[in-house]
Structures are given as C-alpha cells and as structure tokens.
C-alpha cells in the first residue's frame, strides 16, 4: 500500500505523447494500467458497489465490477475501506480563458456601429464566431484549486456578450490543451448582457432581447439566400452552432421566462444558467420547463450591529441571506433538474462550505452528486464519455476516505484521464487510537487522532492533565515529542507495526540520555458525532425560517385572498357615466365584475359587505404614462428608432412601487418606453395585480401601443456636448427621420407582399425578404394595428407629426405630456388625437417654458379627450390630486377632472369597454376613498382589481407590523452569526432606479 503512493508520484509524468507533435527524447509508451481493488465504488449516484474493482488503461475505464481479477500488467492498488467517486464536472466556467476586457475609450461620443475588423455582423455583442477552444490555455495555478475541490472536467468559455459563441468541454489535464479538450464545441452560450462591447446598442435589457430575436431572423435569412447578398461570418457561425446544447445565462429568476419565451419562438430549449434566487419563484421556473445550472454563492450575513446602518439592508436581502442555502433543496423538491456550478463562489473552499451547508440543511446528497456529475454531463450531451464510472468512460474519478459530502472526508487523489494528482496521503486508520506508552518505568496514555490527514496526539500521565504531543508519521517511521513538567522533555523515534498496532523505538530525554520505548494499542477513540451536531443545528435553522412571499418584498404576501365578490353599501358613487354629481348608492361585485349599481341592493350569503357610508367610490385610476416596474432600462437609446423593443418583455413584478401606487388608488398603468429617440419601443398595459407574475399583470387583449417622442430629448439637446452624432439633431431632422422610416416600412411591406404572391417554384429562385422587427412594428402602425402615444411639448412638432401621419394614412392616437397642446388644440381635435398631460409641470427645460397648468382645461373645453398622467413613480400615488388641479387652473367640473384619470385614459387606451367607469359588466376595478377623491384630504382605503382587494389600508398596518417583526428576527439571527465568529459583510442598500422619460443609462 505504501509503495503505491511512491508509484503515483512517478506516474504523474506524461503518459501519452501527442500524435502530431514531435518528441524530445524517448517516447513514453506507458499505458498506465491500474487496478483499484476493494473500494466502495460509486459508479453513479444510483449505484454503489462494495469491494469493487476498477480497471483503467490509457485514460479510460476498461472494466468495473465486483469480482474482477486484476490482469497481469496492471498496477494493483488496494483501496480497502476507501471510496471511489466519479469526479465533478462544472459546465459553467471561464477556466483557462482570459476575461473579456473593454476596449480603451478613444472617442467619448457615441459608438453606433461595430469597431471590429473582419466581415462580421453589425453588433459587437453578437459574436457566435468566438470559440472557447481558441482562447483556452491550461492555467497551472488555477488547475490545482479545481483538482483539490474534486473537479475533473469543465465546460469553459469567455463569458461575454449576448451571443457568446461556443464553449469547449475539457479535462482538467495538465500537459496539453490538445489532449485535454474532449469536445471542441460542446455548447453555445447566450445572455442578456452585452458585456464589454462599447457599442451603444443595445443599451437596455429589452434591446438585448430584440437584438437576439433579430439575430435568429437574420441568420435564417442568411442561410436562405441572404448569403448571396452579403458575406457575414457571424451569421454563418450562428447557423453552425444551433444544434449544440444552448446555455442561457440570466441574472435573476425573473429573466428565466424571458429567455424561455425566446426559446419557444425559435424552437430552442435553453439550459438556464441561473442566479441562485430561483426558490423565490419556483412556479415560474417550473412552468418554463427548463433545466438549470445554478450557483451556490450564498451571501454572508450583514453586520447589523449599528441599528441605523442596518436600516440600509432591505428585507429581501436579509431573507435571501437566510433562504439562499435552501435553493438547491427547494429546486430538487419541486422536481427541477439542475447542475451545480462553482462560478460565483469566491473560492473553491467557499464552494465546498456552501455545498455542505446546503446538504446539512436538507439538500439530498444523491441529487447533489447528480448535479455535479451525471446531470452536467447530460446537459452538454457528453454522458457517453463522462459523469459516471461505467466501462468505456474517461477515467475521471476521486479516491476519498468516506462519503464525499461528509465534513471529515478527505479527497486523497483526483484522477483525470488516468493520471493522478495526489492531494493527501492515505490515512493509516490503524494509527489512530488510544495506546499505552511505556518507557523509563513511566506509563502514559497516548491518544492519536487523525483528522483531515493530519495527526494530532496527546499524552496523559495517570490522572494528570493531558499534555499535547507533537507527532509525525511517514514511511513507517514515527516521531513523538512532548514536555512533561514533572518528568521532563522527551523525544521519541520508532517504527509502527500496523499489523499488531504497536510502536517500538528509541528516545532521548532532556539530559541526552537514550532509552527504549514502546506503545501498544488499547482501544479506539470514541468520536463525537459531528453529523448529529449539524443536524441539530440545521433543525433549528429550518424551524425558524422566513416565508416566501409574492412578491419577494416587504408587503408581499404568502397567501392570496382571491375572493372577487363584494357588496359595497352606501358609498358616494362616482360612476363617470354621466355629468351628475355623485350620489349615495350600493355596488355589487360578482366574479370580479360590476354586477349591480343601485340603491338598497340586498346582501347575499357568503358575499362580504362593506358599509362605505361617508366614503366615496370611484373607478380605479388609470395612468396613461408611467415607467413603473421596468427592468434594466426604460430607454433603448442606441439607435434613433427602436420600434423592435418591447416594454412587455422586461416588466418587473417585484417592485415596491406597484404596491405604493395601489395605495394611491391606481389600478391600470401603461408602462412606456422613454423618450430618448423619435421612435421608441412598444408599450405594456398592466393592472397592478400585486403578487402576480409580470405576465399575469398584463391587461388581457389590449391593443398594442408604441412610444414616440419629439423635441429636446430625441435631438439630444441635454445629453452633453459629446452627443452630437446621432441623427436627428434638429426638429427638421426629426420630420425627415419619420418620413424615412415610414417610407422604408411601406417598401418592406410591399416586398413581402410581392414575395408572398410568388408561386412555390418562383419562391425557390427568389430570396425571401429579411424579417425586420423594427419595420414590422412600423407596418403595424401604418395599418392602424398599433397606436402611437407621442411624448411632445411644443406646437410646431405636434403639428408636424400629425401631418406626417396623415401623409401615411394613419392617426396619432395620443400626444403625451403635450404641454403646448393648448396652442394647437383645434388641430388636434381635427386630427382626432387625444392629449395626456401633466397637471402643472414646467420650467425644467427650454421647451416647457410656455407650459401652463391650464392646458388640460383648454384641451378639454375644445373637445379633446384629455388625461392627466404621472411619468413619475411618486406622483402616480396622487393622480387624483393632480387631476383636481384643473379645477383650480381653468375651472373644470369635478366630474370632468376625475374623468381625466379614469374614463378618459381608458378611452385613450381603447379599454373603456372594460374599465374607466362604474358600469354593470365592467371589471370591478374600484377605489374606496375616505373623502371626496379630488380633495387633498382623500386617502385610498381599499383598491380592488377584478373585484379582488389588492390594497387595504387596514391590512397594510398589519403587514407593516409583521415586516418589523420579521426584520427584528433576521437581525437577531445575523447578530448571533457575528457573535459566534461567522463571516459578515458590511451593510448596504441595493435599489433599482426610478425611471422617467429621460432616464438614459447604458446597461452592460
């Protein structure tokens, strides 16, 4: 047995030469034939063989089983009592590949097009031509970490860009890239992050989504004839990597459905590289039916000793700290298949600490092993070569002292393709125990403990205190020294007989006098069971856990009251259906709809009744212009037209402002693209269904809208002096830009019409037009299938856009902001445009110098359908007050004023058949107010959407109290971590920004 260890060290030199490479000196023809016997062999997570034999030759497993006799010519290694595991596979790494670096900035201005040399595609973030195998070189330092942690093979690539190219599957071999790589192109990688590209487009998440979709269309076109018109290496490469496993990296669980939808559209089933917060939305993950690669990068506890600093830490961050280690277990329990990656952990030590933490908290060991062996192999279609110890597979395995996930287990050796790396010497189990040590007539108890391949010992003289002793063992020789204050300082050297478990040798005392000594085995050390301790600790941890709420935020709820039948009695009802003053009435809500409105409605069993005497009931408030609940960018500002992007793709269901706006009586919101470019992006219409997913919030069957913009923002007047390149820079150019895009759209439509009319035969010889997502959207506008809401201020440009629209035969549905609408109200009326304005904003830019708070009143009096909007997360909480300002400025009636935030925007958005007034048959989107809703003194007490109470001021108080308690509990838990010496991080606050029209940020 001991001889073998020496052998291993010798065998660590090269086993095979490389066919095409010349040799320096003698060619190594050693096949490295090994037979490992008497091992507990974990063939795969499902199969364990006791006393098994494993035969390897030439880096492969040639046989495995119970009664195999090692053939001649094999080195026999007796592994009695030890374990063999398949080594781990990590399929999301950047091992041996340099991180992508951002190019130095030469020009501080915009970069609209690619700066890359070569006949590649137009966007630097789409680089299917990049291959991990081209970039890969063995990293002699990092590889030791990997091997020590038990990994044998990894998938590696440069993790940068939206279309990232191909990752290579490689052994963690030490000598040659050529011999290590198992599959040159094993997977193609994607993400929503443009990475180091300096190109302006895409500057937002929705832009990334659109760019990826357009790339699929472009590649299809290229394959089917486009290649006759242009040479494009990127599209060519993109087509060639489509049959590989497709891995998509997301930053957040909310992006899993975003990626999955793209996959559905283009017939791809992505493997999702997750972010570790999947447990927060298990249902979303389940319904996407994806397989995952998850990190186990659990956050440290926050140092919350200073109560003011602790205020920085959000409730969700505290909860995530507590629940993140349960993510693997929860995914497993939900039946979701996943691999585990070490990416994201700061070190491989942390990887192991976290892995064991999860296991202690109930993560199934078998699943853990699968997630590190068979599943990663399967996900990249490499199960025929790696992941188990079946015959024919690569000899990638670990020799361990015990169950690999036990804390006390030692990985002795990591074999990669038949070549070992020795991580620790085999532990001689017979060495550990209690011995009786005798010399010079003294009798000591000698206790030798073996832990993590290190020996620890102490000696005890009769009933005295134990004295620590230094012990060393190697090559059968042991040295032992200790200082006994009563009897002297002794240094011993001797030989250990493992058969009889006895020591024998010579020693010297402090006077230099030699003596003989011996020790014989008495009994084994009784170990306290650490696993038991762990299980107690984890039981305690698990017994006191935060709830998963929807959304995963303060004021989120763990159970949802879906009752949508109520009777509201004796309220002052503002129906908005006529100009009469509100009167005291009852409203019956049945199955989420307004079922009856009248006096003295009878109550029915099981339908809760609210007596709202003295209170007011109005339709829910509708905000025509909002940037609520946007993820990573409300402006795609990279190009002057971004009609291809869609706000509906990037809604964030987990935003606290949704709840805050519900508390202001808001029920329906149009979420708009910003105003960074003349043609913005598609809008999303949502109901504030707090706790539901983004898709569930969407207003059913609503017409599609798109944001346009005019004026200073689109001509970049206030973007700083570097931004003078993007066309247009003047109001003159804005007109020409619109005419240009609509002309292109018209021609685009015609080219498809022409193509579609061709016979099948003719089609064979023709090139199908390229599907262009931007132009498709513009064609929808031309055909009045999508409607414009246009950010606008001054009269000249308002007039101009109406003329452009008339020229192309469509109408501008809504002018939003429209602060000089009062100057061209007659023209707007003639055109048929609606106006959605601020109540009293002005003076923030030059173009709003003539903005007046009487604007809404004038437009209304002229006959324009007029609304008041927010464009601001805070103002949206009091749109009723904003509407009331028109009573002051322009003498509007109260009913007309309230219509500006209810029925009028409903008409503008083409949803007045469903919402906007209190009418039998409409959705029960209602608000109970404490006072006249146009008064500053009115507070929304209950907000109903579809008859369900989504906000209740009484419940809010209860929630607030429980938030306080939950924070206190988590703070105590974190304090106890700090007290017991656990790792902590400094308190910090992470918040999403609030978006406005002109919030322009370049997201990487």
């Amino acid at each position: 047995m001991k001889k073998i260890i020496v052998l291993f060290i010798f065998s660590a030199c090269s086993l095979f030469g490389q066919e095409t490479f010349p040799t320096n000196g003698i060619t190594n023809q050693n096949k490295s034939n090994y037979a490992f016997t008497n091992a507990i062999l974990i063939v795969n997570p499902e199969t364990t063989i006791e006393k098994a034999t494993l035969l390897i030759s030439n880096g492969k497993i040639i046989d495995v089983g119970k009664s195999i006799t090692p053939p001649d010519g094999f080195v026999v290694v007796d592994l009695a009592g030890n374990y063999i595991y398949p080594s781990f596979i990590d399929i999301y790494t950047q091992y041996g590949i340099e991180e992508a670096k951002r190019k130095k900035e030469n020009n501080p201005g915009p970069q609209m097009f690619s700066s890359k040399s070569g006949a590649f595609g137009w966007n630097e973030a789409v680089k299917p031509e990049v291959n991990g195998a081209d970039l890969f070189s063995i990293d002699n330092k990092e590889i030791e970490e990997w091997l020590k942690a038990g990994f044998g093979a990894v998938l590696t690539h440069q993790l940068d860009g939206i279309v990232r190219g191909t990752a290579t599957f490689t052994l963690l071999g030490k000598e040659s890239e050529n011999k290590s790589i198992l599959k040159r192109e094993a997977a193609s990688l994607y993400s929503f992050s443009k990475g180091v590209s300096r190109q302006d487009y895409p500057s937002s998440l929705m832009g990334s989504i659109a760019l990826l979709k357009q790339t699929y269309h472009d590649a299809y076109w290229y394959k089917n004839g486009g290649n006759k018109l242009e040479e494009n290496i990127s599209l060519d490469e993109f087509n060639s990597i489509q049959d590989l496993p497709q891995i998509f990296e997301v930053r957040d669980v909310l992006s899993i459905p975003r990626a999955d939808k793209i996959g559905d559209e283009f017939g791809k089933q992505y493997i999702i590289k997750g972010s570790g917060n999947e447990y927060q939305k298990i249902d979303l993950v389940k319904s996407a039916e994806v397989r995952l690669i998850i990190p186990i990068n659990f956050p440290d506890a926050f140092d919350v000793e200073d109560p003011f600093d602790a205020e920085l830490v959000s409730l969700e961050a505290m909860k995530h700290w507590e629940l993140a280690p349960l993510n693997p277990m929860m995914l497993d329990k939900a039946g979701i298949e996943f691999a585990i990656t070490s990416l994201g952990t700061k070190s491989k030590n942390e990887f192991w600490t976290n892995l064991r933490k999860s296991i202690n908290l109930g993560f199934n060991k078998k699943t853990a092993l699968k997630a590190l062996t068979t599943i990663p192999a399967k996900l990249i279609n490499s199960e025929e070569m790696a992941g188990t110890l079946d015959k024919g597979k690569i000899a990638n395995f670990l020799i361990t002292s015990g169950d690999i996930f036990d804390e006390s287990t030692q990985i002795y050796q990591n074999w990669v393709a038949g070549k070992p790396t020795v991580l620790a010497s085999f532990e001689d189990k017979s060495l550990a125990g209690n011995f009786e040590l005798t010399f010079n007539g003294f009798n000591y108890d000698l206790e030798i403990e073996s832990k993590d391949s290190k020996l620890k010992s102490k000696v005890t003289f009769e009933n005295e205190k134990a004295i620590p002793a230094k012990i060393n063992y190697g090559n059968e020789l042991v040295t032992l020294s200790f200082s006994d204050s009563a009897r002297g300082y002794f240094r011993l050297n001797g030989i250990f007989d493992s058969q009889n478990r006895t020591f024998k040798g010579k020693g010297q005392d402090e006077n230099g006098k030699w003596f003989s000594w011996s020790a014989k085995f008495k009994n084994e050390i009784v170990k306290q069971d650490k696993n038991e301790d762990n299980s107690k600790e984890s039981e305690e941890y698990l017994s006191n856990l935060g709830e998963i709420t929807y959304p995963f935020l303060p004021y989120g709820k763990s159970n949802f009251n879906a009752n949508n039948n109520y009777l509201i009695k004796n309220a002052m009802v503002w129906t908005m259906e006529n100009d009469e003053a509100p009167s005291q009435m009852d409203v019956l809500i049945k199955n989420g709809k307004i079922s009856e409105v009248g006096k003295n409605l009878p109550s029915t069993d099981g339908v809760p009744t609210f007596d709202a005497e003295g209170k007011h009931l109005t339709p829910g408030i509708i905000d025509e212009h909002s940037h609520l609940a946007i993820t990573r960018g409300g402006n795609e500002s990279g190009l002057a037209s971004s009609a291809e992007v869609n706000i509906g793709d990037i809604l964030n269901s987990d935003h606290i402002n949704i709840y805050r706006q519900l508390a202001g009586g808001v029920t329906t919101v149009q979420v708009l693209h910003g105003s960074a470019n003349p043609i913005g992006g598609k809008a999303a219409l949502i109901k504030l269904r707090w706790g539901k997913s983004a898709d569930e919030m969407k207003f059913e069957n609503a017409d599609g809208f798109i944001k346009f913009a005019l004026g200073e923002n689109v001509k970049q007047s206030n973007w700083g002096s570097d931004n003078k390149e993007r066309y247009p820079q003047t109001r003159m150019g804005v007109e020409q830009f619109y005419i240009e895009r609509f002309t292109r759209a018209k021609e685009y439509e015609e080219s498809w019409e022409r193509y579609n009319k061709l016979s099948d035969n003719e089609k064979k010889n023709a090139i199908q037009p390229r599907k262009d997502l931007e132009l498709e959207t513009l064609v929808e506008i031309l055909n009045s299938k999508r409607f414009i809401t246009c950010h606008s201020y001054v009269q000249s440009e308002i007039n101009m856009l109406m003329k452009v629209a008339e020229k192309f035969g469509f109408k501008v549905n809504t002018f939003t902001h429209i602060l000089e609408g009062y100057k061209v109200a007659d023209k707007m009326l003639e055109h048929g445009a609606a106006g959605s304005s601020f109540s009293d904003w002005w003076a923030y830019k030059f173009e709003v110098n003539d903005a007046i708070p009487f604007n809404a009143a004038i437009m209304t009096k002229v006959g324009i359908n007029t609304a008041i909007n927010s464009d601001d997360a805070e103002m949206a909480r009091r749109l009723n007050q904003e509407a009331a300002k028109s009573i002051k400025y322009g003498g509007m009636s109260e009913i007309d004023a309230l219509k500006m935030v209810t029925l009028n925007p409903a008409k503008m958005l083409h949803i007045d058949n469903k919402v906007g007034s209190i009418k039998v048959g409409k959705d029960a989107d209602l608000v109970i107010w404490s006072d006249n809703p146009l008064s500053v003194y009115a507070i929304a007490e209950k907000t109903f959407i579809d008859g369900i109470i989504y906000f209740d001021r009484e419940e809010e108080k209860i929630l607030q109290e429980s938030i306080g308690k939950e924070r206190a509990r988590l703070i105590q838990k974190m304090l106890s971590v700090k007290k017991s010496g656990g790792k902590t991080q400094k308190p910090k606050k992470e918040e999403q920004i609030e978006y406005h029209c002109d919030t322009i940020i370049n997201f990487n």
Binding site: A663, A843, N849, V862, E894, D931, V936, P987, K988
Partner: protein, 431 residues
Amino acid sequence: MKKTILFLLISCSVLSAQKPVPAPEQTGSVLILGGTIHIGNGKVITNGAIGFEKGKITLVSEATLIKINSDSFSQIIDASGKDIYPGFILPASQIGLKEIEAVRATLDENEVGSYNPNVRSLVAYNTDSKIIPTMKFNGILLAQTAPEGNLIRGTSSIVQLDAWNWEDAVYKEDDAIHLSWPSAYSRKWNEGVIVTEKDKKYVELINDLKTFFDDAKAYSEIQDQKNKDLRFESMRDLFTGEQKLFIYADNAQEIQNAIEFAKKYEIKNIVLAGGADSWMLTDYLKENNIPIIINSLQTLPSAGHDDIAIRFKLPKLLRDAGIKFGFGGLGMELMEKRNLMFDAGMSVAHGLNYEDAVMALTLNTAEILGIANSVGSIEKGKDATFFISIGDALDMRTNNIEYAFIQGRQIDLNTEQKELYIRYSKKYSIE
C-alpha cells in the same frame, strides 16, 4: 452665435406675455369683513375683521365682538364665506436664482468651490423670474432664497415676492449661512443597481469642515483683521448668533453628527433642513431644541420596509413630539414649490391638525427664519401680508386666491401662464 440665438429666444418668449407690475405702497386704509381668519398661530377667528394701514395690521378681531367704524376705512372688502391666511413662506429655496433647470445660462444658484459662505444670493435674485408670479398665484408671498452647493453653500436672504429689484425685495438681508452636511454614505452604480454603503470619505470631509470652522472662529475673535479673508469675514455673524446656520441633512447619523458639530462651535441658531429621518430622532431633536424645515411630502419612502405613508405622516409625528417645523418642499424642483401648501394639506389628511398645518406654512417658518416679530401671523402690529382665498387654500380643489397683500400693498395675482390661458380661450371662443 448659438448663445445669441438662445438669448433671442428667451427674450421673445418673455415679451410675449405681460408681467404683473409691482404694487405701489399702501395709501389709505383697508377693512376686511367676514371670512375665517387663520391667524397662523393655531387660532381661528370665524367671521373676522382685519384692518390695516400704512402696511401694518391695525385691527384683528371677530367682527361681532367689537364696534367698527367702517367710515374710517377707505376700502372695505367683503370676505364672508372665504378663508384668510397669513402669506405662506417658502424657505430654503432657490427662487429668483434658477429659471429653467436644463438651461445653464438661467442658473445662478451654485458657485464653484465647497466653502462659499461669502457668496450672497440676494445680489443674483431676479425679481422678474417667471416662476415668482406662479408662487403668489397660490398664496406664497415671502421666500428665503438661498444658494445651493457642496458643504458651505453661501448666504441667503429673505425676500417678499412683489418687487422691482432685489433692493426692493429684501425683507431680511443675509439671514443665514447654508451648510450641506456631507453624506455618510456613498451611492455607486453597479450592474444596473444603485448600491449605498458607508462612505470612507465622510470622516475626512467632516475634518475639513472642522478645520475651516476652527479657523473662521479664531479669525472672528479679532475684530479688525489686517489681511481680510472674505470667507471668514462673512461668518462673523454666525458666531455672534445674529445669523442662522441652516444644515441640510437627512440621514439619522448625519443629523446627529451635524448638530453636534454646530453645538461645538456654540452656534446658537441652528436649523435642520431636510430631516427625512427626523422621526427616528424626535427625543434628540427636542432635547436640543432644533427646528426643522422639512422635505417635500411628495417623495417616496427611502426603504421598501418603511411605512408607505411615512413621508405624509412626518409632520404629525414631529408635531406630536413637540418639534417646531415648517414646510419646506425640499426636494421639489423650484417650479413645483408652488404646491407647498398642498404638502400641508396632505399632512392634514394624515393626522395633523389643520391650524397646525397652517402654522407650519406661516408662523413656524417665520420664527425659524427669525422674522416672526413682523410677519407670519395675522396679528395687530405685524405687516399686512396675507391673502384671501375663496376656498380652503390647502386643498388644490378649492385653493383660489382672490386678494393678496404684501405689507399692505394689494398685489397683482396675474401670471403669464394665466395670460396665455386667456389668450387661447379667446382664440377658441371657450369660457
């Protein structure tokens, strides 16, 4: 060339509508009869009578309680059914210093450097700002105009809002020095998220401030310095207590650091401006007798776990704790500050007593600014600076100012915005 174009555009738009003409000094005497007088000190008189002459109030009473010789007044205004308030005061604003947020040429509020105590807002105060009439339109008749900036922003003055030039406008010259307390936290942009953490520079900045104050205080001990330092000269009145120190701080730790700092220099008149976290420190603020000019209520809570209505409830919390505060609208853009009284209205919706809300727009603010002996409430002997509203002035639904007087002068409430309204109403034959 471009500058010229811009200039022409501005002057064109300025010429397009008529500016209200500042009112001449009061001649004769005025009696207002009827109406509800919100005195400004928490008291109300229903069916009131107010007499004023030579710019000063000569009579305030319930109309039925005293005998009034109406012949002795040259003008009588019937205010029955209406509400009368002291002129609202806008503190800690950049009124007259800023015009159009995005046009640099119209901005005069922020001087270069971090130590500008000698910079005086008054000399840049533009009485012809288009924003001023929009304030009066809603009941704001006085304002403190103050520089902005890092650390020591400069010196403010208090102005009345109906004047030909800044010398006419000044109500109290150089009333306070304004100090932006450094932020204890840094905010960094990281992967699309704003990350706030303790700022390591915080202590360093406080130390710099200490050095500056140490030097300024030592300098002030010698009356006639040979080598004059303009900055230190301008701080003399701060140490004597004649001038106030406005400290802008929102975070609980910053507030405590700032107040301890000012106390160390024995600054007698400290005003906290902002004070978002003041509800956490009511005992401390009460103990130190620190008044607050508060932020606009129209801001979002700072943390997701905060009470969603914490901003709306703050005035009530401060009142209950016995802390003097005035509405400041801090955080609002200048043009939005015409809505200051609606902040007060919202605080009433969230529990504050109505007359306390009025007080925090008038007398409290006057006291905090040090002008309460002549203005801030409708009391005999004080300036006749008040207005009559046809309805409740704290509610946008009813705020409708009919008459306004500044030091007895009946001022023109017209605005260019209203003129445009009239012009286009005529064009469309509406109204």
